[in-house]
Point group: C2
Chain length 388, copies 2
């Protein structure tokens, strides 16, 4: 049972997918202040374009409908019209709603129109199943995810409980840029959307913008903050603490995406340390963590760390080869750009761990970038060769 005051949730099987839940709804009858960041992909899906338009028109959302199984991307003007038509139909099943305060987000296959008839027929039962428990919602937004992803924190303000609930989906097509696949962070706190909007980029940059499964920023990535205002306001003295909790929830969700990365057998924490600037640290992180050669070596539990330096060195940056150290867990593998002789049995033993930690020390400046990634397995190829 996961709940947040001021919100009702639903998740049902509408028939977009063959068997699994595929249509979900968050409903805030009295509205919720909101902020959102969406993918920077040039082919942003219809739901992303719709969300961007809403951000300019309103501070308040009442209904966030989400479908899985179809991304509603590359669908042109019809994709936008389909959203509008579905939200209008949804309005006929909800007690009090202003359709200007609702949105439909989508994930799934790109390049197909939504099955409007099937979805429209399911809307009354979607509305009918609204409930305080967010679990069916968290299930219905999943696509290739194997696990449901939620994160819960509470903060006590003068004896009243502030709830923070994060829910997300994501497993493949994961290298969010300014946002993630679908992430929703809900709270009962009373916060103006202006605060949420000033915080959301930092939250995304600390969490979802630090992960990659396979280098592909999706057409549908969206992170949304929603505050129902049913609980306390956050006094200025506690705001830093509250923001830190929002960030913790986002990081927890982002790490859960990596733990459930398509076909993954490893959870890798990779740090680029002592860089001259954040841009270089970030770029090197992604060059390494998207390298198929690095990722397949991790899958093979193969301490072929030369590939890590090769991928770090292939991009333009301020990196100077002769200054670079590479640490794997407690082991120094490369010092000042040259290999350190090491017992292979020790390296082999370390690679057997599910959780691997690497630190590439550039020994140049004071900037650090830590992020999380997966290996690349047969199962990843299978999932994505077959997905249709």
């Amino acid at each position: 049972m996961i709940n947040v005051d001021g919100f009702l949730f639903a998740g049902i099987h509408a028939g977009i997918k063959q068997k699994k839940k595929d249509l979900a709804l968050i409903y805030a009858a009295d509205g919720a202040e909101f902020a959102a960041v969406t993918t920077t992909n040039k082919f942003g899906a219809a739901g992303v374009q719709y969300t961007q338009a809403l951000l300019k028109k309103t501070n308040m959302l009442q209904a966030v409908m989400v479908n899985s199984g179809n991304a509603n991307a590359l669908t042109g003007d019809k994709g936008i019209q389909d959203i509008s038509d579905l939200l209008t139909s949804l309005g006929q099943s909800l007690p009090k709603i202003n359709m200007n305060n609702s949105v439909l987000l989508s994930t799934g296959i790109i390049g197909k129109h939504l099955p409007i008839k099937t979805m429209t027929q399911a809307l009354p039962s979607l509305a009918h199943s609204l409930n305080t428990d967010a679990t069916p919602f968290a299930e219905a937004i999943m696509t290739t995810d194997l696990t449901m992803k939620t994160s819960i924190k509470t903060l006590d303000i003068d004896g009243r409980s502030i709830q923070i609930v994060g829910i997300c989906k994501g497993s493949g097509m994961i290298q969010p840029n300014m946002a993630t696949m679908h992430g929703f962070i809900l709270t009962n706190a009373e916060i103006p959307s202006s605060d949420l909007r000033s915080w959301i980029k930092d939250i995304a940059d600390s969490s979802f913008n630090r992960i990659t499964v396979d280098s592909d920023a999706s057409t549908n990535d969206t992170l949304m903050l929603l505050a129902s205002g049913k609980g306390s306001t956050i006094p200025p003295s506690r705001q830093a603490e509250f923001r830190a909790l929002l960030k913790e929830v986002a990081i927890d969700l982002a790490q859960q995406i990596i733990q459930d990365g398509e076909g993954c057998t490893k959870f890798v924490t990779f740090t680029v340390d002592h860089a001259l600037n954040q841009g270089d640290a970030r770029a090197i992180f992604f060059a390494v963590c998207n390298s198929p050669l690095v990722k397949t070596a991790w899958f093979g539990e193969n301490p072929n760390f030369g590939r890590i330096l090769c991928s770090a060195g292939k991009i333009e940056s301020s990196l100077v080869a002769e200054k670079v150290d590479l640490w794997m867990g407690p082991h120094l593998l490369v010092k000042q750009g040259a290999v350190v002789p090491m017992d292979k049995a020790i390296l082999d033993a370390y690679m057997k761990n599910r959780d691997l930690t690497f630190r590439l020390d550039l020994n140049q400046g004071s900037e650090r970038f830590t992020g999380w990634t997966t290996d690349l397995s047969y199962e990843y190829v299978k999932i994505n060769a077959e997905y249709n």
Copy 2:
């Protein structure tokens, strides 16, 4: 039998690898004018650093020794000293040689020192086996390559034959940047190194800089042009023709690398057309052709072309989604950024071909970039999980 006047060749099993040929030599007793471009990777191998130093000191090479099975990368000062020691030892087995005009290039695993003793012992038999046939050389430079890669052209100048012979290796860790894995283009023409050096970048940019297997620019990429001068000079009226043949040989070799890409089952020709500038066209080509989601869909013969647009749209560029068309062979899949309804059976049938052709038309300018790439298969994962 592959030969070029003015050059002798050798390729033997020295014991760096368990069974296969692993040590190779090109020997031009009277010297050959040379040009080279090498990887831009920051962790350029010892052989790459050695080549760069030679380019500044001499226009002439006599011996190009190449080993496979060990990249001599991340090997610090010792890596350079090892090359110098091995070349000095080689000099004792060669009739007339200036050791300042020789080099050792390497490919194979990164982060291990060369097995100097094993290699030194093999040098007399390497020198002894020198012969006019380049075939053993072409075999001995292979690593995970399944096929030997050569390309031969001739040009008749006033009844005398100008030979152009290309030899290369490469299969994985392939996204050359300014150069390739190891490529050697030899000719008997009499050409000053200044001409070779002014042409080589254009040759690399037209061929090896247009391919990717897995996005990783190696630490060892080197392309070398060698001219023995045993044949004619090229009169000014025939120079354009001669340069075009050099380029054809380079393109042929680059395509052979893709045909033999690690684990590949598809040969994909991908064009980004009508871009505003070459930089964008090139960047979009690599964003698409390095996407694991695009490549696994090709492996699965799955016409999930939404992934192609997703990966094209994920990077910063001048692309405007609403202008983009996507063609697969003769089929228009996406028009002005929206999907074109199409019989899935037609798409499925096209995907069964080994050779696939895509054209992403940005409909903005007049720049075009065509390159070649592979799919991503179980076998790629297997090769690179196990390689050690």
